[in-house]
């Protein structure tokens, strides 16, 4: 589904990604871990098409076509979803309005007609249970005055409603208490299926107790320095990132 080949990217002229290689097949959950500044969030933003991130070298293929030929919104409509590390507030725009605009943008892209208000509401009411949010949440302005936990749950709600093909979760666990963490993980797990892939970016092993990955990759200084199964995360937890950084930055592939 996603094939990242020798990806280099800079932010404000400063190289951050220095040759990432990664293959993600449908149905798989990949965890990406690594110390601060290793390029985890940069990778997420590059995949989503954020303008200030400049790709300097390498290729990314998404469903066999060149990802970089697609605009930000085209990538979204083609099924790439980014759960933001810092979800943005949009005053005066209700959650449900944004959700509906997102769903209909994607349907339009696929040549489908807009969803009827009744069907949409029915669908959203079902999905909101997944993240244990009250219905009144839908009528509040997007992320405005939300607590950290509410913002992250809102990201998962959006993901559940949009039903992406590839979901990238950028440190969705940061700032969550254990109850919120469980709700978020539960939401993600219920969306796992054989057609959908996840890239879960996290700092801590803790999240991976609840979202059990198929593969774990460790990023350091803009490269994947180690890849393995879920046990790699446990190893990291025990030994810390220092253990990885001592190893030579090898070109490892899954």
């Amino acid at each position: 589904m996603l094939s990242i080949r020798n990806l280099h990217a800079s932010v404000a002229g400063k190289p951050i990604l220095r040759g990432i290689n990664l293959e993600v097949k449908k149905g798989e959950v990949h965890a990406i871990m690594g110390p601060n500044g290793s390029g985890k969030s940069t990778l997420a933003n590059v995949l989503a098409g954020r303008e200030s991130y400049e790709v300097t070298q390498g290729e990314v293929f998404y469903r066999n076509s060149n990802l970089f030929a697609l605009s930000t919104e085209e990538r979204a409509c083609e099924g790439i979803f980014l759960a933001f590390q810092y979800p943005v507030e949009i005053p005066g725009v209700s959650n449900i309005y944004l959700l509906k605009a997102a769903v209909n943008a994607r349907r339009k892209h696929q040549g489908m007609s807009e969803m009827s208000a009744v069907d949409f509401l029915k669908m959203v009411r079902e999905k909101i249970k997944l993240v244990e949010m009250k219905e009144e949440f839908l009528h509040r302005a997007v992320n405005e005055g939300f607590s950290g936990g509410e913002k992250k749950r809102n990201e998962i709600l959006q993901m559940a409603v949009i039903e992406p093909t590839l979901a990238v979760l950028d440190e969705t666990d940061s700032g969550l208490d254990i109850d919120a963490l469980k709700i978020v993980a539960n939401g993600v797990n219920s969306l796992r299926n054989e057609d959908r892939a996840f890239i879960v970016i996290t700092h801590y092993q803790r999240l991976l107790d609840y979202i059990v990955p198929d593969f774990v990759h460790v990023l350091a200084e803009g490269k994947v320095v180690k890849s393995g199964g879920k046990e790699l995360a446990l190893e990291l937890e025990k030994q810390g990132y220092k253990w990885i950084e001592k190893e030579p930055a090898a070109e490892l592939r899954v």
């Binding site: 919104e73 980014l82 933001f84 810092y86 005066g92 725009v93 997102a102 943008a105 959006q158």
Partner: protein, 480 residues
């Protein structure tokens, strides 16, 4: 997929779709202003003599006055002798729809304002003003059954001269300001509304102003009286053809609310704003004021201002009656070279009077947006309360937003609050929306509509949708 500041400025260049001209034979006075012109206008309308005297007094007063210079707007001096003060489609005062020139019906149809009652928006009565005259008022009979008078002010002068005489100029005196004086001398038409005691007007009332003729000024006069315990909701819309010359629109609107009456006045103003270089467009110099004359009365102004090269207007409320309420909700959008200096005055005179001001200014392109407001609490106004909120949103880096709130408080028991914010649409917000699949234009439109929500929700339903659409088309290419 660019979201940078330069690209924001691309979004503001859509065409003005109301910019067509209707080719119709007109009865137009030659350009120029003199006592004879004032007499000619009055004679054309066969007005009662008191009206001519009133006009002449206003004209003589105007001659002694100066064009105001305090607004934050820039334009070359206006040559008042180059303007024609009266232009009317050539017909002999059609009374039924069959007698209205089909070209006029077509014009309003094109503007989305059908004048055939069966085609009209359900529950909305329309007075259509074309250049200097009212061409048709719909649902007059339906309204008359409820005792409501809704007609052109020319008709009102013929049929209800005493009512007009009693109230005209009672809120905005003829010598109030330069443009109000000019209007008082040469006003040609406008709408008149009287809601009798205890009547809740069964329909939305609406006036649609259209400037068509070249080198012509539009000077309309609207007078609305809501008698005790009555209610009326009134809306005005305005458009004009695209021309390279500037055209002057100097209107006066007066509202009178008696005891326990409520007037809700909404404006969707979409005069031709001029082109990208600032050529052409309407000078919209308007005086709007309401008097809450009786206790517990209420006047509420809602305006969505997207058109005009220059806008200069301050819909105000005189809170005379005890416990009376004044409200002002405004969205003003300026793009290209547009300039808007708008706001309100809330004058607290009676006890326990309350006022609310919510102003949302959006600037794009080289647009300059000014909020100018006055909250005045007189000594007599015990326990007066005011809340003002002025928010500005900037799109791009070549536009400007300015806020001038004035307060004059003479009673120590007054509570006056003022909040103001200025923000830009952030790259983070755009990226967030676009990551959810929205195009940049849709993202901007959604964010701007969110910004304006507090005002839009005050508009009558049908018009809230219109206003949102208008904002969308105005913003098309407004960024970038």
């Amino acid at each position: 997929m660019s979201t940078s500041t330069q690209d924001l400025n691309k979004l503001v260049s859509r065409e003005y779709k109301e910019g067509f001209v209707t080719d119709i034979e007109a009865d137009t006075l030659p350009p120029g202003l003199s006592e004879d012109v004032v007499r000619a206008i009055s004679a054309k309308k066969a007005e009662p003599e008191f009206m001519l005297d009133w006009r002449l007094a206003a004209y003589r007063n105007w001659l002694t006055m100066q064009d105001p210079k305090w607004a934050h707007v820039h334009y070359p001096p206006i040559d008042f002798q180059a303007i024609s003060y009266f232009s009317a489609p050539k017909t002999d005062g059609p009374k039924s729809l069959d007698e209205v020139d089909p070209k006029l019906l077509e014009t309003y149809e094109k503007l989305g304002i059908p004048l055939q009652e069966q085609k009209a928006l359900a529950g909305v009565a329309v007075d259509a003003v074309f250049d200097s005259v009212s061409v048709k008022t719909t649902f007059r009979e339906t309204l008359a059954d409820a005792g409501v008078i809704f007609c052109s002010i020319s008709d009102a002068l013929q049929q209800h001269p005493d009512l007009v005489r009693q109230y005209l100029g009672s809120v905005v005196p003829p010598g109030d300001n330069y443009y109000a004086a000019l209007n008082s001398a040469v006003f040609s038409d406008g709408s008149f509304v009287y809601i009798p005691k205890g009547v809740r007007c069964p329909m939305e009332l609406s006036t649609y102003f259209r400037i068509n003729a070249m080198n012509t000024g539009q000077f309309e006069r609207t007078l609305i009286i809501a008698d005790e315990d009555s209610y009326v909701s009134y809306l005005e819309g305005c458009t004009a053809p695209m021309r390279d010359e500037n055209q002057l629109h100097a209107a006066v609107v007066e509202l009178v609310a008696m005891e326990n009456a409520e007037i809700k006045y909404s404006t969707v103003q979409n005069w031709y704003p001029g082109d990208e270089q600032g050529r052409g467009g309407i000078y919209n110099f308007v005086t709007k004021r309401g008097a809450c004359r009786g206790p517990s009365s209420k006047i509420s102004w809602t305006q969505v201002e997207t058109g005009s090269a220059i806008t200069w207007k301050y819909p105000s409320v005189l809170l005379e009656g005890d416990r009376s309420v004044g409200e002002f909700y405004s969205v003003a959008l300026t793009r290209h070279m547009q300039q808007a200096d708008t706001g309100t005055k809330m004058i607290h005179i009676g006890k326990d009077t309350r006022s609310t001001i919510i102003s949302k200014g959006i600037s794009a392109g080289h647009g300059q947006n000014v909020y100018r407001g006055l909250v005045k609490v007189l000594k007599s106004a015990h326990n007066a309360r005011n809340y003002s909120q002025c928010d500005s949103l900037l799109l791009g880096d070549r536009c400007g937003a300015h806020t001038f709130p004035y307060m004059e408080i003479k009673n120590p028991a007054a509570q006056v609050e003022h909040e103001a914010t200025t923000s830009k649409i952030s790259e983070d917000q755009l990226f967030y929306c676009m990551q959810r699949g929205l195009s940049e234009e849709n993202a901007i439109s959604m964010i701007v509509n969110g910004f304006c929500k507090d005002v839009f929700k005050k508009l009558p339903m049908e018009f809230a949708v219109e206003a949102q659409k208008l904002l969308d088309v105005s913003l098309e290419g407004a960024v970038g």
